[in-house]
């Protein structure tokens, strides 16, 4: 069974302001996202026949985000997003 990404590392820096490197624990956020979207999921499963394969494909897409790495180093901004 595929697992959703557990951590995301984010860093942003511009000439005016910036963030330190943040390690966001996605594994703590996913349960809240699931609970908040539960009513919508139930509604869609009941009234939309094709929702099940879409949900499955969306879940698979989110799982495959693991390993994505975006690093932009420009003169006026630095952005780092890394999904583990």
């Amino acid at each position: 069974m595929k697992i959703l990404p557990t951590l995301i590392r984010v860093r942003f820096k511009s000439p005016s302001w910036g963030l330190p490197t943040l390690w966001i624990p996605l594994f703590l956020i996913w349960p809240f996202v699931f609970l908040l979207s539960l009513p919508l999921l139930i509604f869609a499963l009941i009234f939309w026949a094709k929702f099940s394969p879409v949900l499955s494909a969306t879940y698979q897409l989110m799982c495959e985000l693991r390993g994505t790495h975006v690093d932009v180093d420009a003169k006026d901004a630095k952005i780092l997003i890394s999904i583990h």
């Binding site: 394969p53 494909a57 897409l61 985000l65 390993g67 994505t68 975006v70 690093d71 932009v72």
Partner: protein
């Protein structure tokens, strides 16, 4: 690899003993190397890399993007599930950006073939001002 070395030695010995001529030896060595290549399992690339190294000027930027190949597959599978009503605005948006492509014609069996060919893609461009763009799968 040891077997390959032994086979090559046998062929060279046959050539040295005069049992085969040079042309036959060359053909045998060529077919041996071909067989070895086909037996070697091809490493499946896991990531699509896009690396941009901008020019040395004040506006140069460095970009390093790594995308899992499975993410591309999953994205294409999701796109194939788009409802028909969404195809028209997507096609229109693509056309406005210079991409004449019909998303309704994308089939799941074509997607895997497309991703497979993408693994062989390598782009290496160097601009006049020293900027470099590399796209490859690893």
């Amino acid at each position: 690899m040891t077997t390959n070395t032994e086979e090559r030695r046998k062929i060279l010995n046959l050539l040295g003993d005069g049992k085969i001529n040079a042309q036959e030896a060359e053909n045998l060595l060529e077919s041996l190397s071909k067989a070895t290549f086909e037996d070697t399992p091809k490493q499946v690339p896991k990531y699509l890399h896009v690396i941009v190294d901008g020019d040395k000027g004040p506006h140069g930027a460095k970009v390093n993007v790594r995308v899992p190949m499975n993410l591309l597959r999953a994205g294409m599978k999701l796109a194939a599930l788009l409802p028909a009503v969404a195809h028209e605005p997507i096609n229109k948006a693509l056309k406005e950006n210079g991409v004449d492509f019909d998303v309704s014609k994308v089939k799941p069996e074509n997607l895997e073939e497309l991703v497979q060919h993408l693994t062989d893609l390598t782009v290496d461009v160097e601009g006049n001002n020293g900027e470099k763009v590399r796209v490859f799968c690893e």
